[in-house]
């Protein structure tokens, strides 16, 4: 298929960006979206132009590196996928596709479609861990049974890949789905109880400091999340925060 691409080009964080039009031809429906971008970039390099910078690494939907806002949706029109798992069969010949970076005040653009998501790391530094030394001298792994339901729910929360689609989607640029998922993982496990109060308070404080907005329960983040992280995690985080303050 032949496509027109409207892509956000921005030289660096200080320079003003703009949308630029490109054409690509003979795109196979079996290609992934990023393979289509590879075709464009090879075309640009061979023409002596600068290729479009975008983050990507594992290309199987787990590293959380890819981060495109495609036709007004984080990771594009499909559900339950990252951009690297989006396939061109979701588009048709002659389409015009708009491609932008994940936009949020807390995610400044580095170049083109590459944004700085280190705010997520700093939220994790504030409490995204259990304070246990890695000496191996802990008790046997089976000494504390954990109800299967709790373990499974913790796993569902821990599935978050930290891509930032929730932030890019939210009209308030809220990071509460991301933070809620991490808080929930630990809140659901006995190992996380000891530091639960400090953790949620510190992580939420850092989240606010980074300039993420608040949650107004629209639920768009849950729809666009490639890993199906549930809004329940935000409710659980709020409950944990309330519990920590009394």
């Amino acid at each position: 298929m032949n496509l027109t691409l409207k892509i956000w080009r921005q030289k660096d964080s200080k320079t003003k960006g703009q949308m630029v039009d490109y054409k690509v031809t003979e795109i196979s429906e079996h290609m992934s979206f990023l393979e289509m971008m590879d075709v464009l970039n090879e075309q640009l390099v061979n023409a002596g132009e600068q290729p479009v910078a975008f983050d990507h690494d594992c290309r199987e939907g787990i590293c959380g590196m890819c981060s495109m806002y495609i036709n007004g949706e984080a990771h594009g029109p499909d559900r339950g996928v990252t951009t690297c798992q989006l396939h061109m069969r979701m588009f048709k010949d002659g389409d015009t596709i708009t491609i932008e970076p994940f936009r949020a005040a807390a995610f400044p653009v580095i170049k083109d479609l590459v944004v700085d998501r280190s705010a997520f790391d700093r939220i994790q530094h504030a409490g995204g861990y259990i304070s246990v030394n890695t000496s191996g001298n802990t008790q046997d792994a089976n000494s504390i049974p954990i109800p299967k339901k709790a373990a499974d729910e913790a796993m569902d929360a821990a599935t978050c890949i930290g891509c930032g689609a929730c932030v890019a989607t939210c009209k308030n640029s809220s990071a509460m789905l991301f933070v809620g998922a991490k808080v929930s993982q630990y809140a659901l496990l006995p190992q996380g109880q000891i530091e639960a109060a400090d953790r949620v308070q510190n992580m939420v404080a850092q989240m606010d400091l980074e300039g993420f907005g608040n949650c107004t329960n629209t639920g768009a983040c849950e729809v666009e999340c490639p890993k199906g992280i549930s809004l329940d995690n935000i409710a659980r985080m709020n409950r944990e925060l309330m519990k920590a303050s009394i």
Binding site: H30, E35, E42, C63, Y129, P145, A154
Partner: protein, 665 residues
């Protein structure tokens, strides 16, 4: 230089404990004055960074991604082995050790493997304490699954995302130390050289991938944890950015490179679909617990399936060839990866491949749907359930176990694997070869260590499933933190290492000149043009089977391609900016050297062992045939061009295992 593996004396089960009791320690106050650089933040690098920082060292960690959490360990799916024997099925430290040495086709170092098996149980304890949400059964205890090449269930897992959960565990341990200031994290940085001062590794030169600046970083020791080099094939299951550069740079400064030809071709990956493809996707080995692998028995069915007039589900049991169950009744679908891959290639080469390219076999879950479904019907007390009901109940169980993998498959292939069998084919997945290390995990450069997939030590010629995660975390959490102390004990009076020395200056100059060369070359071809060409040579001639003639041609071709690359490569943009093409040019330049050494190593190793299959050396049944004279590690010393590399041999002695023909029949 003679190779000294520094394996401690004494009975194998006491070596590690006795060793730890006698090494030098660094007192906590002195650790504060010692810096360690760790390159890579996957399971090995992440766990090492966290543990070294907890011990009190000042750690500087480097990742080319934007966060340590994105290192490619994150993509490991199936699980992690540990000799816990929670299932009471006869597992033990010795049995894990035995399985690993046998699985590696008797080409790994006994003492290292035993130590790995010994610390494996601690890993699970550690990860649970960190909040890793492993799968559990209804009693609240940890669940296990089986992997290839073993007869016990010792694999712990978190759905099909075990690597992700373990890496997030290591990342959380790192976060705690970053918050304390004990780890200084350098994201979006790439190591481009190691700096050796007075014969010791004392720092690195790194490029800031956002600004393009070349930076000097000093330390008392340098740890390479940068993963494997599977991307030398262009197409592999590795991440796009995975590269050999850190390992190759230390090789060029004096570290021997061991067994480069030992590559793991993983049997269950999604087949390739076209020339535009940028990477291949793994379907976890754990699927072989519940999936049965087959091709049609009759050629007319193969052709009918290819042209679409028959569906795989139309074929009766009698019309199917479950070739692994037929050839290897004892292990069936759970034979080791190298054996399963070659068997798939054998059937495809014979013309029985089921897709348009003829390079695909089926992985079928229908039998498991039925087995689980019947069990669930009993548990839920459903009388006389219909076939559909059984299937539905069974699918729910399979979904709970592997749901994310089935979803991944459907998104890529556009077919529903609950309704039709998956199509799979082998793909490059892991490299057992790597930087040579002794028992301390130190390379032949004093003060330079290599851990995880970046080293060669534990998996011999073939790695068993779920052992990479085990090795990465064992090295980082439990081995390196001890062994590095023995070396650093001599550095307590050294003081801070200055970066204002001729050695740093020379290394920085060389790196700067190289990146400027790429930008100024203005050649005719893109970096990917060369990478794809290299990948094709590697796959065709150094892939699942190799022969002397092909390897000699490969050496010639790679050498010529490298020459062409340096003359005609085209890298757009400038050095002082975010420039992915520039970063990739450096990586491909190193792959072009490694690739030739790889082929040379494969040519010299005139035997078949594990993943290295030389067509000249096979049994009548087509199995790999080892040769006693090759019971050694090939460790290559850099001498300029790959063709001039000098071979050193580390003889392998097996005192605790009888070396036998590896049989899974």
């Amino acid at each position: 230089m003679a190779l000294d593996s520094k394996v401690p004396k004494g009975p194998i089960k006491d070596k590690w404990t006795a060793y730890k009791n006698h090494i030098n320690l660094v007192n906590p106050a002195n650790k504060r004055n010692i810096d360690v650089i760790v390159v890579g933040t996957g399971l090995a690098g992440g766990s090492a960074s966290a543990t070294l920082a907890e011990l009190g060292y000042n750690v500087k960690s480097f990742a080319y991604q934007d966060s340590p959490r994105r290192a490619h360990s994150i993509a490991a799916q199936g699980g992690i082995n540990a000799a816990k024997n929670y299932q009471g099925d006869g597992d033990s430290t010795y049995r894990l050790f035995y399985d690993t040495v046998k699985g590696g086709d008797y080409r790994s170092r006994e003492a290292n493997v035993y130590r790995l098996a010994e610390v494996s149980a601690n890993i699970i304890d550690q990860c649970v304490a960190q909040g890793v949400p492993f799968a559990r059964d209804y009693g609240g205890l940890l669940d296990n699954r089986s992997f290839g090449g073993v007869l016990v269930s010792r694999t712990f897992y978190a759905k099909g995302q075990t690597g992700q959960q373990l890496l997030l565990g290591a990342y959380s341990a790192m976060n705690r130390q970053i918050a304390r200031g004990k780890i200084e994290m350098f994201n979006r940085h790439e190591m481009l050289d190691v700096v050796v001062v007075d014969g010791k590794a004392r720092g690195i030169i790194a490029r800031n991938l956002v600004t393009g600046e070349i930076e000097r970083h000093s330390a008392h020791a340098v740890v390479i944890a940068s993963g494997g080099y599977g991307n030398v094939y262009f197409l592999s299951t590795n991440a796009m950015g995975s590269n050999v550069t850190a390992g190759w740079k230390v090789h060029k400064k004096g570290a021997y490179f061991a067994n480069p030809c030992y590559t793991q071709i993983h049997p269950t990956c999604i087949p390739r679909s076209g020339d535009y493809q940028s990477k291949l996707t793994l379907m976890s080995e754990s699927l072989r617990n519940d999936g049965r692998i087959w091709v049609p028995k009759n050629m007319e069915d193969v052709l009918a399936i290819r042209e679409g007039s028959r569906k795989p589900t139309d074929l009766s049991e009698e019309q199917r060839d479950y070739y692994l169950e037929r050839r290897y009744p004892a292990f069936g679908n759970l034979v080791p990866r190298d054996v399963a891959s070659r068997a798939a290639k054998e059937r495809s080469d014979a013309g029985y491949g089921v897709n348009a390219t003829g390079e695909a076999v089926y992985l079928d879950f229908a039998a498991s749907f039925e087995r689980y479904g019947k069990e669930q019907a009993k548990i839920n007390n459903i009388q006389n359930p219909t076939k559909e009901k059984i299937k539905e109940l069974g699918q729910e169980i399979v979904k709970a176990k592997y749901g994310n993998l089935f979803q991944m498959y459907e998104k890529i292939v556009d077919e529903n694997p609950y309704e039709t069998p998956m199509m799979i084919y082998p793909a490059v997945h892991y490299t057992m070869g790597g930087v040579w290390v002794d028992y301390n995990l130190m390379t032949t450069i004093p003060g330079c260590y290599a851990i995880g997939e970046a080293n060669f030590s534990d998996h011999g010629a073939n790695r068993l499933g779920a052992s990479a995660l085990m090795q990465g975390l064992a090295d980082g959490y439990f081995v390196l933190p001890y062994t590095i102390g023995d070396y650093l004990a001599d550095d307590i009076r050294t003081g801070e290492i200055s970066t204002e020395t001729p050695e740093f200056e020379a290394a920085e100059k060389a790196v700067t000149e190289r990146v400027e060369f790429f930008i100024n070359n203005k050649g005719a071809h893109s970096v990917d043009y060369y990478h794809k060409k290299l990948g094709k040579i590697m796959w065709d001639k150094c892939g699942m089977s190799r022969n002397a003639e092909g390897l000699k041609i490969a050496i010639e071709e790679i050498s010529e391609l490298r020459k062409d690359f340096w003359e005609n490569v085209n890298v757009p943009g400038t050095t002082k900016e975010y420039n992915e093409q520039l970063a990739k040019a450096g990586r491909v330049a190193d792959f072009l050297e490694l690739g030739e050494l790889f082929a040379k190593d494969a040519l010299v190793r005139e035997e078949s062992a594990g993943g290295h299959f030389r067509e000249e050396h096979q049994t009548e049944e087509g199995e790999a045939k080892r040769i006693k004279e090759f019971q050694f590690v090939s460790a290559w010393e850099y001498k300029g061009e790959p063709k001039d590399a000098v071979l050193h041999k580390e003889a392998l002695a097996y005192e605790n295992i009888e070396v036998k023909e590896r049989s899974y029949k």
